[in-house]
């Protein structure tokens, strides 16, 4: 019985590590593609964690559905960003936006 428990613990730990890596990547990466990948990794990690915890199947299905939605929408936005800005670097995109934002007269 004991080895099974530790395997589950390992899986949970792996899930949490994946999730944390994904969160870090998705929240702060400089590349748009990496952000989308980070989100996917984080969701995958969460689903692994759910499985390890023995959470109800409905939760895992819901998680998988969310993962699918984020992948498709993320891919769509990635493509549109590439078209619109010709860049996939968050800093480049921000610079382009800042230039386009109407200048404010100083207060």
């Amino acid at each position: 019985m004991a080895p099974l428990v530790s395997a589950l613990h390992l899986a949970l730990a792996a899930g949490i590590v994946l999730l944390m890596c994904g969160v870090a990547l998705g929240w702060a990466s400089v590349s748009v593609a990496k952000r989308v990948v980070g989100v996917i990794v984080a969701l995958l990690g969460a689903i692994v964690g759910l499985a390890a915890l023995g959470a109800p199947q409905a939760m895992m299905i819901a998680g998988a559905a969310a993962l699918f939605a984020y992948v498709t929408i993320g891919a769509g936005i990635l493509a549109r960003l590439q078209e619109a800005y010709g860049a996939t670097d968050v800093a480049d995109i921000d610079r382009g936006d800042a230039d386009a934002e109407p200048a404010e007269p100083s207060a």
Binding site: G15, I16, L19, G22, V23, G26, W27, V32, R35, V36, G38, V39, I40, A42, L43, G45, A46, I47, G49, L50, L53, G54, A55, P56, A58, M59, A62, G63, A65, A66, A69, Y70, I73, G74, I77, R80, L81, A84, Y85, V90, I93, D94, G96, D97, A100, E101, P102, A103, E104, P105, A107
Partner: protein, 486 residues
């Protein structure tokens, strides 16, 4: 006969509050003409709002027992009823106000309206969900729908895509955290039903509390609580006025209500209550201070609104963190104030055709009604007396002093003080500056679209003057929710 139908409809009100906007959204997306689609969407939103408000009225004011609907995973408690009413009213006014900016979306306007309605259905689902699966699905669907509206704004301003990207990555992070949190919570309390939370704390309080914390952080990201609001400024500023309204009135309000529902169970538990309220209050206080500092230096009206939402959201968290009925009541009043101010500020500016602060210069002469709406929103944010914002702040300070949390009262005062500066700056621009020649030729607003902003402005002042109904609703919501959780 008709009474029979009404009884039947009322019995299924929670389901209808979600199904009606979804059905109307599908219909709206099929219509080609933006104006016709707008009319249809407005009627759909109106019907939904009537259903939700009626439901809230019956539960909060009429003494009807909160109902659990079998078979569809929905259950209305007091917070849910209050939240569904606010979300659907916010969606109604946002959809009507969108009339002024429909041309931003071009031919995709029906699609944008449909997505907005879907978002409101999904966030209503969050506040009406009976189990964590519904909560998760609702939050994700609602979030992606709002992100979709932000992305659609790229038809006019490509920066909308940037906002959508930020929302996507923030939403993905929040989804993953929420998922893991639900897993932890569900296994430690032995079930996915929210109601189990109230009773089954004793099994594994630490992992349950961790799960609760993860879900709270996920919802705080969606509610744009500072410093977790990195996605918000650009999405508000560049995602178009409709998206800004939806984020503020539907997503933030829905997420905050969902949070309040969860925390009501958490703070009632002696094992983790202290920790939960401490963590929430720290987050709330940080949100107020960070949001205030950013709002004072905000560069555009909708960025200012984003930061002001963080401030108001922080005050709401502080009220929830107090854990007392008075604290919850303060939170509900502030939630109402948040929605009203966002509508008045963004709606007023959108109807007058100005997104930037510079466009507000001298608007008092050019568009007096829109200026009145913006002024009322700004006054409410300041917490000026006789506005709903003041009522919320007063209740918060009173509740904080009631449990001896002096620093929360100090933070609430700091929020008002900062509000004087950023709200005052808006008013100064409206009435004491001359328009620069560049903005003098602004477009003629589509008159009716101003109605929501004006309505919110009137509500912000009228409810500040005679808040009995709102206070009563908030009070019974807080007592029902805390009473059930005990």
């Amino acid at each position: 006969m008709i009474e029979g139908y009404i009884v039947l409809l009322r019995a299924h009100a929670p389901l209808l509050a979600i199904a009606v906007p979804l059905a109307v959204a599908a219909l709206t997306a099929l219509i080609a003409s933006p104006r016709v689609a707008w009319v249809v969407a407005s009627f759909g939103a109106l019907t939904t709002a009537m259903i939700a408000v009626d439901m809230a009225g019956r539960i909060l004011l009429g003494g009807t027992q909160p109902l659990m609907q079998e078979g569809v995973g929905l259950g209305v408690d007091a917070v849910g009823a209050f939240g569904a009413a606010i979300v659907s009213l916010g969606a109604l006014l946002a959809v009507i106000a969108a009339g002024a900016t429909l041309k931003d979306f071009g031919k995709a306007a029906p699609f944008a309206l449909a997505t907005g309605l879907a978002a409101s259905a999904a966030w209503s689902g969050v506040v009406l969900a009976r189990d964590f699966v519904g909560l998760f699905v609702g939050a994700q669907a609602g979030w992606l729908a709002v992100a979709g509206v932000v992305a659609l704004a790229a038809l006019r301003d490509r920066a909308g895509l940037n906002g959508a990207l930020r929302m996507l990555s923030a939403g993905g992070v929040s989804a993953a955290l929420m998922l893991l949190g639900i897993g932890l919570l569900a296994t430690s309390i032995n079930g996915v039903e929210l109601s189990v939370l109230a009773t089954n704390w004793h099994g594994a309080p630490i992992s349950a509390a961790t799960g609760l914390a993860l879900i709270s952080i996920a919802l705080a990201i969606c509610a744009a609580i500072a410093p977790l609001h990195a996605w918000a400024p650009i999405s508000y500023a560049r995602g178009g006025a409709f998206a800004g309204l939806l984020i503020g009135t539907v997503a933030s309000a829905g997420a905050l209500c969902g949070l309040a529902r969860l925390i009501a169970f958490g703070v009632a538990s002696p094992e983790v209550g202290g920790g939960v309220s401490l963590a929430l209050s720290v987050l709330g206080g940080a949100s107020v201070l960070v949001g205030s500092a950013q709002a004072v230096g905000a560069a555009s009206l909708r960025r200012l609104a984003a930061y002001a939402v963080a401030v108001q959201g922080g005050c709401i968290l502080l009220g929830i963190a107090l854990g007392s009925p008075a604290g919850f009541e303060a939170a509900f009043v502030q939630l109402f104030g948040l929605v009203a101010s966002v509508l008045a500020l963004i709606g007023g500016a959108a109807a007058a055709g100005g997104d930037t602060l510079g466009a507000l210069d001298g608007l008092g002469r050019r568009a007096p009604l829109a200026s009145v709406a913006i002024t009322a929103g700004a006054l409410s944010l300041m917490g000026a007396p006789l506005s709903i914002g003041f009522l919320g702040r007063w209740r918060l300070i009173e509740a904080a002093l009631g449990v001896g949390w002096w620093w929360v009262a100090a933070v609430a005062i700091a929020a008002s003080l900062a509000g004087v500066f950023y709200g005052g700056r808006l008013i100064e621009r409206l009435y004491f500056r001359r328009a620069s020649t560049a903005v003098a030729a602004s477009r003629d607003p589509w008159r009716f679209a101003l109605a929501p902003a004006l309505l919110s402005a009137i509500a912000a002042v009228a409810l500040g003057l005679q808040p009995i109904v709102l206070l009563h609703a908030a009070e019974s919501a807080s007592q029902l929710v805390l009473g059930r959780a005990e």
